[in-house]
Symmetry: D2
Subunit: 149 residues, 4 copies
Amino acid sequence: MQKRVVGVIGAHECSAEVEEIAHNLGRKLAKVAEILICGGLSGVMEAVCKGFKIEKGLTIGIVPTYNKEDANKFVDIVIPSGLGFARNVLVVKSADVIVALPGKEGTLTEVAYALQFKIPVVSLNSWDIPGVIKVATVDEAVEEVKKRI
Amino acid sequence: MQKRVVGVIGAHECSAEVEEIAHNLGRKLAKVAEILICGGLSGVMEAVCKGFKIEKGLTIGIVPTYNKEDANKFVDIVIPSGLGFARNVLVVKSADVIVALPGKEGTLTEVAYALQFKIPVVSLNSWDIPGVIKVATVDEAVEEVKKRI
Amino acid sequence: MQKRVVGVIGAHECSAEVEEIAHNLGRKLAKVAEILICGGLSGVMEAVCKGFKIEKGLTIGIVPTYNKEDANKFVDIVIPSGLGFARNVLVVKSADVIVALPGKEGTLTEVAYALQFKIPVVSLNSWDIPGVIKVATVDEAVEEVKKRI
Amino acid sequence: MQKRVVGVIGAHECSAEVEEIAHNLGRKLAKVAEILICGGLSGVMEAVCKGFKIEKGLTIGIVPTYNKEDANKFVDIVIPSGLGFARNVLVVKSADVIVALPGKEGTLTEVAYALQFKIPVVSLNSWDIPGVIKVATVDEAVEEVKKRI
């Protein structure tokens, strides 16, 4: 049986505050999903992987380059896609549900792809595009993921 | 010397009104660009290709499938990418400047990619994302393209 | 620390004999690698996943479509890439070492990519291209993988 | 009506002799095809583009990076795919017929993809894989292209 996969998207550079949120999110998501998938890089991606791994979850990072070393050190399995930003499609499509944290245009491409694919997007202070599920706290985000995974 | 390339993005299904706008846009863009690149399908893409070809421009369509027959009949050169929606990256990155017409989430992925790549996006009644150049008419859109190509 | 990943490539349709070999290969590879990555479909891919899972290994399938249901039932984690045959690059590049079983041109693209990436290719009655490590039995193949992972 | 497209594949580094052959091939292909598509880089790709342009053909280069400047100067239209070696699929699939000149594993991936797609591959001293059409001279290669485009 296929594993339950949650995807988390957000900026590769983030404030200490967002990093803390991502870390907590990672820890709590590990209670509801077996696999975390993300873009595998720094910032939000690193913090969420770290939290998810502390709670014994398995992390997958689909990085844009061919270099496995580009993944943050909390990624268990690296897919070194070499696809550049086209890898965003794979991050999103591999997940059963997405949590979006703050990010720029790259994050927006992922939000938009998820909506196009009809994959639920839980937006925690991230892009506010028609169709996303807006939440204000990590706990609410995890609650929404739990319902949909 | 590389040719000047304009990209046009928008829905594969559109109203008669948007189709008319796309057609006019295509005709007028042919005065300022040598090549039109788009996703190669129906709706906005077909109408803009038709207009561009009437004025002797050359049209390229990067379609999501492996089937050249999926391109509309006004596409001169089909790139049957087989990449699905990941082909959106290529449509955007191949252009020197983008005009966005109304579209859904697929169009939003392209707007976001263009902004991420620092490629100018002229939005004619399309997504209003920070960074786009908003215009209200075809003539204004063509004027903005002309300045940037 | 990143997991040790073995990739297995081969035809999506195969004889009962090759299926048996793939199954045995899967079982024995689970002793030397934590993760099996493959194209996720039927034939060689299904048989090797089945064997690998019997021995408690974790299987990843990168399928060409957007449909997770296209993966065989022994895939734990599906990456529904939507990239068509371009997904072959990702299958190969994600692995630390590749075992090639009999296959057609699709398998040849993967052998060639692996050689280009300098990823070792153990060929068990598969394509004989300069640079591959030719072996005649499952045990020899596993031995070669063990040395290189 | 879609244009007739010939694809040429081969190494990005080549001997003066192969360069001369590629150049002559480009000149002669311009008599039978309107569009030349290739990987857009140096070596065989540059020489064939140069020849094709001398005879007023239009050249398209699908480069692996996001940088249009990576294309050789005889490419009229650059598709800066950012897909890495996955762009090989697009080079091949966009062509009605392929001519393969000497190349390494990258060229082999393209030969194999073409065979998988049932696109004719004319091999001029390149890989000898079951299914390719082997020829010994530029004139023979052009003759085979002419029959199939």
